[in-house]
Subunit: 322 residues, 2 copies
């Protein structure tokens, strides 16, 4: 089993380290955060200095997983270039196009495929994580013109070992999707919480499920939310414009005719689509991992397909039946 070297041992990195070790893979980590480092050490994991961890990854041809914040990525990639320039490389950062570009620029010789597990943010730090954090979650693994098949397979294999299923996608399509289903929800939660609190203690004391659910992620660490949302600026601007358009239309309709039927119905239909995705009949097929296989997988990802197994020769993908 291929070894795993995790750089950054917060909630996500720490959980990847645990999950990789739990399936029996050799695994070690590095972090500049002293609390996370101490916590991982106490939990029995091998924690090295970053350069030492990377050099060992180069020696053992381990998969390096970058789990630092986007804002630290430039510096970490310089260290990768210096210590493991030909490494198998992936990451778990919430935006993909920016990381993809930075990797191409700084470590063009790395065998890289970007990743993003869609899980967890309410707490942070190594101690908040667990080997089960990704169980049942979606995990995007990106496919670009230059993505090496081996890198994609290794990143996908890690995601599957962590208990997730893999959604094959381009970095750009991922970022557009993430803006809509992760970054905009964080903006909405923040705005909703603030408008509610503007109603004073009376409003908050009447708050029930709809407000509590709708504002839950506003409880996430603000610096993480800020980094995540600001890091996906172009796609988030598009999503915000769509949202402002729909919300403005609802406001206009309520003010003029008094009707909110089209807003409510569209939202209901969309939510039903989400729920149906969980229960839809899916057709399972095997994609041979030859030439153009990754683009075929990416097309199936656009249709809602999820990869549930990856071997040396083929990927198993479940696609909703239309």
């Amino acid at each position: 089993m291929r070894a795993v070297c995790v750089i950054g041992l917060g909630l996500i990195g720490g959980s990847v380290l645990r999950a990789a070790a739990a399936v029996g893979r050799p695994a070690w980590g590095a972090t500049i955060d002293e609390e996370d480092s101490a916590a991982a050490g106490r939990a029995g994991f091998e924690v090295l200095a970053t350069e030492a961890a990377l050099r060992r990854a180069a020696d053992e041809d381990a998969l390096i997983v970058l789990a630092t914040p986007l804002t630290a990525m430039q510096g970490v990639l310089r260290q990768v270039a210096a210590n493991a320039p030909h490494a198998l490389l992936t990451d778990v950062v919430s935006v993909k196009d920016a990381v993809e570009n930075e990797v191409r620029k700084q470590v063009p010789t790395a065998r890289y495929a970007g990743g993003h597990p869609m899980a967890g943010l309410a707490e942070s730090g190594f101690l908040a994580g667990s080997a089960e954090l990704f169980s049942g979650a979606a995990w995007a693994v990106t496919i670009e013109e230059r993505t090496p098949l081996q890198a994609w397979r290794e990143a996908a294999r890690l995601a599957l070992d962590c208990g997730a299923h893999v959604v094959p996608t381009s970095a750009a399509a991922h970022d557009d999707a993430a803006a809509r289903i992760s970054h905009l929800p964080h903006m909405f939660a923040a705005v909703l919480a603030a408008v509610g609190a503007d109603g004073g203690p009376l409003a908050l004391s009447l708050a029930a499920g709809s407000f509590r659910d709708g504002t839950r992620v506003a409880g996430s660490p603000p610096e993480l939310v800020q980094a995540m949302t600001e890091g996906n600026k172009p796609a988030l601007l598009d999503a915000l414009d769509d949202a402002l358009g729909r919300l403005g239309a609802a406001r206009g309709s309520l003010a003029s005719t008094g009707g909110l039927k089209s807003t409510v119905d569209a939202g209901h239909q969309a939510r039903i689509s989400l729920e149906e995705l969980d229960t839809d009949t899916r057709e399972t097929s095997a994609v041979a991992l030859g030439e153009n296989a990754l683009f075929r997988l990416r097309e199936l990802g656009e249709l809602g397909g999820r990869v549930t197994d990856v071997t040396e020769d083929e990927a198993t993908i479940e696609v909703p039946v239309a």
Copy 2:
């Protein structure tokens, strides 16, 4: 124990009927919905024709609870005027000013205090309800210039018997608060769901906690959401304008400086305020139910106070310590 007559036996009315019976109060109901009527009958409850139910309430000086949709309120109040014009009367409709005005117009002799339990909407109908639906929930009971002390006490008593605590408030303040913490969340959930679904199957297949939580109430029956939100038009317009202002400011800031710190921080602080409300130290005091007692309770409600007991002579209220 005062008898309870519930008109409308959907999720909320059916749950009130069950909870009232569960504490040993004589209770009966009426509904024009055949399914709810049959289900309540099968569950062992006495279901009468609406006029018969109201006449019996008049005979036994029961508390009448109107649990029909806002859109049906006018017709039901005409029946109350014809059959129980001096009744003790409350309601469980999600807007309060409109109901208050309609009651004053149609049944000016009724002893009325409006109510609104902050619970449940994801499903509808008698069968979706339970005696425990309101357990631990807030239940607004309104106080206006003309609210009779006895009517408020009886409505509050019912809420407490249902396991809720009582938030004393004016109808207008309730409607403003409800717009912010219930109706706007439903608008946000609808818009968020639609913007997410516009991202296609890929976006929905990447959706995790933030999107699922933020869109949950978009799964509610659309006709109920529409009636509830449209019924609170002036207050909801204010809340929508606040939200559009905050969201537009975030959009502007992201587009210009690229920064979302003030939006994220304000939302985080607001969410913390909500969570603190559950854990705040509270000071318990007793308010003697004499002259001006209701206005005193209403003031304490503005500060986040909740009534946890009501006797013939006094109300016990817990107010957060500043």
